[in-house]
Structures are given as C-alpha cells and as structure tokens.
C-alpha cells in the first residue's frame, strides 16, 4: 500500500465491519455459526463476487492483530481444571480426533490427489482443530451443556486446539524453509515445548505485575494498553523464537485465564476480580478486531479464478469434507459408554473453525496452497461448521430426548 487516504481507509474498515456484522447476525438467526457469515461477507466484498475491497497493508495488519487476539481469547477461555476433570476420555477423543483427520486429509491429498508433501501437510493440519463455540451454543440451547458428553467435548476441543497450534508452528517452520526437514521439526518442537513451558509462566508473572501496577495506578485505561502490549510482546517473542506469532497470543491468554495456576505459586493465586476486569475490558477490543480477520480470509478467496467445470475442485472438496467428518467420528467411537453418547461426542467435534482458517491462510500466504486447494479448505471448514449443529439437534431430538441432563457415562 502506498499512502492510502485516511477517509478511504475509514470507509473500507467501516464496510468490512458492517458487512461482517450483518452476515454474522443473519447466520446466527439461521442457527448457523456467525463466523461463517463473516467469511461470506469477505467473499461477497472481495474478488469472488463484488470486487469492492482489496485489502490494504493496513487492513492486513489489523487482521493480524485480530488473529493474535483471537488466539488470546482461545487461551483465555481454556480451562485447565476442566481438562483434569474429564481426563483420559477427553484426551482420547482429542488425540484421535486430531490424528485421524490429519492422517486422512494428508493421505487423501498426497496419495489420491498427488499434491506435494507440504501441501498435504497443510491440508491435513487444517482439518485437525475443533471449533467448539458453535457446538457449545447448540448444546446450551438443548440444555445439555452440563452433560458428561459436553464436558468431554469441551476438554477434547481444548487439547485439540493446543495440538493444532503446535502442529501449525511446525508447518510454519517448514513453510519458511520451503521443505520438510525432520531435524528442523525436532528443533521447532523443542522450541515450542520450551515456549509453552515458559511463556505462560512468564506471562502470568507479568500479569501479576500489571495487577500490582493497576492497584496503585493514577491514570485510566491501564488494562487495555497493558494487556494488548502483553499480547503483542508475546507474539513478538514467539516470532523471535521461530514459532508463529499467534502462539504468543495463545500463551498470553492461557496465562491470564481464570483457571491457570503456577505450579508452586500459592501466593500467586488468580484474582477473580482482576480477571473479570480483563475480560470486560478486553472483550470489546477482541470483538472489534477478530471480524477483520475472518473478512480478510473471505477476501483472500477468489472463487472466480477456480475452474468450476473441472471435476477436481468438486471431488477434492467433497472427499475432504467426508474425511473431515469421519476423522472426528472415529475417535469418539473409541469411548466407552452408550453408542448414542459416543456419536453425540463425535458430531459435536465436527466443526472446524478459527485454527483451521489460520492454517489455510498461512499455507496460502506462504505460497504453498494454490487458490483451489485454499478454496476447498475454506469450503470444507464452512460445511463442517454448518453441518454439525443441524446434525446434533436432530440427533438429540431423535435419540436422546429422555436421557437425564446430568447422566453420567460409566468411567
């Protein structure tokens, strides 16, 4: 971008925010995930349809802030105690729901469609992480958010997210080198392990400093500037350590989450009122920036240059979609307990979302995924997110209307 006029920038930003909001609301009314509406807003405004918006450098950087704030929020909402409660069941569902889609997506791309190794890795990676938001809402509508299967799904989605982000860091390193290098992967895994072990502790210590500072501060607006600075700092630190920026956002969020605790720190207990203030004050900022990212993803998609008459895009999208659904179902069937609950868990795990979109976007900007593969991934993500709530509702109405809400599966 050259020197974009200020009023043009204001107008672009306004159009993005308003269109995103409109379609998010529309999709919410259709009982569909708002995020798909925001994607669609980007598709409509972008080269695929109207061609009104071409994202400038500024909008792209605002979208980058959007991603790290999104991962910050994912981290913030991660409930580590929840994981401990659902324990092995959730871990089992998560790991198999991570491994199967990855292996199937990778195999499909590599063996059936003969894509390059890096491409196949990104396609597999995109299918791994579960987007739990929409499922939680459906389960809440059905008044089953406290059921045991809901708890398993929540736990599994958290683990999924973490595994997905780690895989993303490894693929990010590959994409920078342009090649798959196991030694390098090992090094990156080491760095990520170090980052994940140290960053949240470090971030937690800083957040305690911020809390102290807040108590004696004589100015307004401490939390927005300091917490955003903290997130930016960890994003920068993650980059400096050779991992993706968004890992830093996630680590910072994890450290500030209500349920995060330091191993030795009795004296370092979370202060719920402080967490509440962070939550209240960061949420509007997150809500402002995150839609910019999703609209950007839609803008990045050019459906016009795709050859819709070739069978490739259709067969690839549909088989990838099948793989994405099956991959998540397989894992849940390994659970113990009644088969209906197992299926409910599997269906609830189907939606892909934020992390998948970040995978696809990273693969595209690194020049690894071409426009068609990218489009197929976005389509698959959108379909899984649209399918799961519908499936889940009809499934519950048919098979589980009489199951008590807090019915415990045998451990």
């Amino acid at each position: 971008m050259e020197s974009q006029a200020v009023h043009q920038f204001f107008f672009q930003l306004m159009v993005m925010l308003l269109t995103a909001r409109l379609f998010a609301e529309l999709f919410a009314r259709l009982q569909s995930p708002p995020v798909v509406g925001e994607l669609l807003a980007g598709v409509i405004l972008g080269p695929s349809l109207l061609g009104w918006l071409e994202p400038s450098q500024v909008i792209k950087l605002l979208a980058e802030i959007g991603i790290i704030l999104l991962l910050f929020e994912v981290g913030l909402e991660t409930d580590i105690r929840q994981l401990a409660k659902t324990g092995w069941q959730a871990l089992l569902v998560a790991v198999s729901g991570f491994v199967w889609p990855f292996v199937l997506g990778f195999g499909l791309s590599r063996l059936v469609y003969d894509r390059s190794l890096l491409e196949a890795l990104f396609v597999g990676g995109t299918l791994t992480a579960t987007s739990i938001g929409i499922t939680v809402r459906v389960l809440t509508d059905l008044k089953r958010q406290h059921s045991r299967e809901a708890q398993v799904v929540l736990g599994a989605a958290v683990i999924d997210d973490i595994l997905g982000v780690i895989l993303l860091a490894v693929l990010y390193e590959f994409s920078r080198g342009g090649d798959v290098d196991p030694a390098n992967a090992g090094r990156v895994m080491g760095l990520i392990a170090a980052f994940f072990a140290l960053a949240p502790v470090f971030a937690k210590l800083i957040s305690l400093l911020i809390r102290r500072f807040e108590l004696i501060s004589q100015t307004d607006g401490l939390i927005p500037t300091l917490i955003v600075s903290l997130v930016l700092f960890f994003a920068w630190l993650a980059h400096a350590m050779g991992t993706p920026e968004l890992l830093g956002g996630f680590a910072a969020g994890l450290a500030l989450s209500r349920r995060f605790f330091l191993p030795f720190g009795v004296a370092l207990r979370s202060d719920p009122a402080f967490s509440d203030r962070i939550d209240t004050q960061m949420r509007p900022i997150i809500q402002l920036f995150v839609p910019i990212f999703f609209v950007m993803v839609g803008l990045s998609l050019n459906l016009r240059v795709i050859d819709w008459s070739s069978s490739f895009i259709w067969s690839f999208s549909l088989s990838l979609f099948a793989v994405a659904v099956l991959g998540k179902l397989v894992g849940s069937l390994l659970l113990r307990g009644a088969w209906v609950e197992r299926f409910a868990v599997g269906i609830a795990m189907i939606p892909r979302g934020e992390v998948g979109l970040i995978f696809a976007e990273l693969g595209r900007t690194a020049g690894i995924l071409n426009n068609e593969i990218y489009a197929a991934l976005i389509i698959v993500i959108a379909l899984t997110t649209l399918l799961s709530p519908m499936l889940l509702k009809s499934f519950y109405r048919r098979f589980l209307p009489s199951v008590p809400v807090r019915g415990e599966l045998p451990r």
Copy 2:
C-alpha cells in the same frame, strides 16, 4: 510504507503503548497531565532523542482512528444541559477565551514575527480550545468541582471545543486550497453549520436503530463494531462534505452523549442503560487508540533540527506562552462577581490540549507550519497544561480556602 513485517509492527506498537503508559503514569504522579507524558514518550522515542521509531503508514492510520475516537469521546462527554445551566456566563467566558488567544496569537505571529497569513491563522487557532480534563481533576482534588466557577469553566470549555473544531474546519479548507479565501470560508462555515445541525440528529437516529438491533441481536460484540462503524461513517461523511474527519467523530459522540436530545423527540429519549453499555464497551477501545495519537505528535516533533542558539525559538515560544495565558485570563475578568472567582475561572481555562495538538498536527502535515513553529506550539501547549494545575492549587490555597464549596456568584 512497504510490506512491514508483522512482528516489527507488533513490536513498534507495543513500544509505543508501553512508553506512553509509563510516562502518563509518571506525570499523573507528579500531579501533571498524563497527556504531556504521552507526548514526551513520542519525543523520547522519536527523532528528537533516541530515533528508535519512525511512524509507519499503519501507525499513522491507527493514530487517525485515535483522533476521531478522541473527538468522539469529547462529544460523548459534552453535556448540553450543563451549557443551558451556566448559560450566558459560560458563553461569555468561552467566546472571549476563544477570541482573545486567537487574535493575540495571530497578531503576534503576523505582526511581530512576520509569518504568513496561513501560519498565523494556525498559530492563533492552536491557542483557542481549552483542555478541561486536567482542571476538572484539580478542582475535584480541591473538592470544588461543584462550585459555580467550576460549572462556568466546564460550560465554557465545551463551547470552546465546538468553536475550536469549527475554526479547525475552516483552516483545514484553507490549508487544502493553500490560500485564504473568504468566499470559501463562508461556504465551509455553511457546510459545517449544516453538518452540525444534521449530523448529530442523523447519528442519533442511527444510534436508536442500533439500540433496537441490539435488543434482538443474537450475536456478541454488537456495540464495539457498530459504534466504531458509526464513528468511521461520520468521519467519512465529514470528509465527503469537505470538513475534517474529526468533526464526524465529534458529531457522533455528541449524538450518543447521555444528555443529547432531539428537538421533537419525546419518543426518542435516551436510554441510560444503553448509554452505559456504549460507555463501558467503547472506553477500552478509546483508551487503546488515543495514546497512539499523542505519541505520534511527539514523534512528529524533531527537536534536533531546531536551531536552539537562535533567539527566535525562545522568544517566539515564550511570547506565545504569555499570550496563551493572558488570552484566557482576559475573558474571565469580564465576568461579574468577586475578583478571586474571576481569576480562578481564568486560570482554570489556561490548559490547552487535544484540540490544540490536532491544530498543530494538521498545520504541520499540510506543510504550513515548519518544524520550529510546530515545536513552539507543542511546547506552549505542554507548558499551559503543566502551569495551570500548579497555579490553580496555590491560588485556591491562598485566596479561597474559606469560600463555601457551593457558594453562588450573584447572577
């Protein structure tokens, strides 16, 4: 800006936010205005001292969002009923506190220092608007925020702001044309009058729509995206009408302020709970963006290229400072009532702030103010803001310790 790396952008932004916060806090502790601390942060980081930061295009656009959000906040806090209460006294103080500094600043630049007509107009304009924030805080510390003189000062400052913003729009038009054209000024005044008459009403109607929409919305984050969009839209509209963008921010804020009411609209009464939600959710966003603007102003200042050995910068700054102080005092002496109260009002009106900085910045970017005049203006603004609280406190301790807090001046 070319394609700035994401992590560099994150780092720049973080350094700006943290340094601004640090100095704001430091200044607050020294009983001085935080905004001067934020300016100083920019001076330290910028070419004047360390030379670490050169604002990229992105940072500049974020600063632009900062300005319009700042003006939005000024509008939001404008209390029109307050004006009605203090009435003529406030109007008198405001108008004379607007006219005298303008005339004196203009005369000094034009006649004594032989600057160009446009330069002199910008110098005069910079001295007009009172920054009331710091004064209110001092009066609150002295428990005199409900006194009659405080009310007069508050009312006058609001009128000052409005007059200042109107003058800014006229000068903006001159700066675009590169010349002073009375016919053009008339046209701009007409447009501004139209904008000020219509925009708040229009914005109010939109805000009522937003409130309706919020009641039935099924998604989160409606207020941050819609209110920011509203502000961006009015900024864009203001530009489209040939007035500065920030006028739009101000109009939007005015329309959303608690005390704004439409002439005929009994049915359109403000909803205090809705205003509260806007306030709570917009404040963190404003607090995040506004410091970026003030740091930018500091960054724009290059104290190194100024010839400090020449007498010009010293004599110009000091005489301008004298004029800035005297100009505000003169107006207050026209009030009726005890001379101590008149002086208190005058001293309280001395601080210049946000609007003055915007004047200076606009004059600089339009190529009208050279580095030395710009530096002198920033120095004068900083000095007035530092001087007034000190003066006010010692004045009250000496002359008004025994005056009852709610003592009414004769009308």
